[in-house]
């Protein structure tokens, strides 16, 4: 994994990551879900956002 901030900045007209690389990443993440979390509850996107919000607020909520 490498990072370089002097790469050309995308204008937004093209994807930040190549389509083939994004597809490979998607396949890997799907395989992780299938093999590590085969019984994962299927959560609608809107509910996922609510859960993320709650999780972050709880994690950082102790002051």
């Amino acid at each position: 994994m490498s990072a370089s901030d002097d790469r050309p900045v995308s204008t937004g007209a093209e994807p930040a990551a190549g389509a083939d690389r994004a597809a490979a990443a998607r396949a890997l993440l799907a395989a992780i879900d299938a093999q590590v979390f085969p019984d994962a509850r299927r959560i609608p996107f809107y509910e996922q956002s609510v859960l993320i919000r709650r999780a972050v607020i709880r994690l950082l909520g102790d002051g």
Binding site: M1, S2, A3, D5, R7, V9, S10, G12, P15, A16, A17, R21, A22, A23, A24, A25, R26, A27, L28, L29, A30, A31, I32, D33, Q35, V36, F37, D39, A40, R41, R42, I43, P44, F45, E47, Q48, S49, L51, I52, R53, R54, A55, V56, I57, R58, L59, L60, G61, D62, G63
Partner: protein, 170 residues
């Protein structure tokens, strides 16, 4: 609506840039709201972070993945976001920040990177075990974790230790 928005959320959705952006925005908003701050996201930096994260997920045999790959994906998400100045928070009140707010304002990018990866880890582990693997963190712990990440983004590999997240795997 993007294809990744149809149906249920899944890890693979994060490889879609729009979903990645929404995940990050959700986390940033959840951090900003309790400290009465506004989150300003640098879209170019976020795109670099997304590209870095996608790069980190290449060359792995999808047929042979296990929980270590999940942990590594969360860690590389944190590291990728930490390497780019994606977010700053601006207080919207004149009140002096409490200790947590001060830590967030001091390390906005690092705290948000940690929370972004931790949120993915937390939700999947809680769903699997029925137990929340996280505990509310003190400001001191959050500041220490963020400082570690600022010194070296590779500290992200220790995100569970830094964020006091339990693991179901020995």
């Amino acid at each position: 609506m993007l294809h990744a928005d149809v149906g249920a959320w899944h890890l693979a959705a994060l490889a879609d840039e729009a979903s990645f952006n929404r995940h990050y925005a959700t986390v940033a908003a959840a951090i900003a709201e309790p400290i009465a701050a506004r989150a300003d996201i640098n879209a170019a930096a976020r795109r670099h972070a997304f590209a870095d994260w996608i790069d980190s997920l290449q060359g792995i045999d999808a047929e042979a993945v296990g929980h270590r790959h999940f942990i590594a994906a969360c860690a590389s998400l944190i590291a990728s976001l930490a390497r780019h100045p994606v977010v700053v928070y601006s207080p919207t009140t004149a009140e002096a920040p409490d200790r947590m707010a001060a830590a967030i304002l001091k390390y906005p990018n690092e705290v948000t990177a940690l929370a972004s990866g931790a949120a993915v880890y937390l939700l999947r582990i809680r769903d699997m075990t029925g137990v929340d693997p996280g505990v509310p963190l003190s400001a001191l712990l959050v500041e220490n974790a963020a400082a570690n990440l600022r010194r070296d983004a590779e500290a992200a590999v220790r995100f569970r230790e830094l964020m006091r997240l339990a693991t179901p795997w020995s």
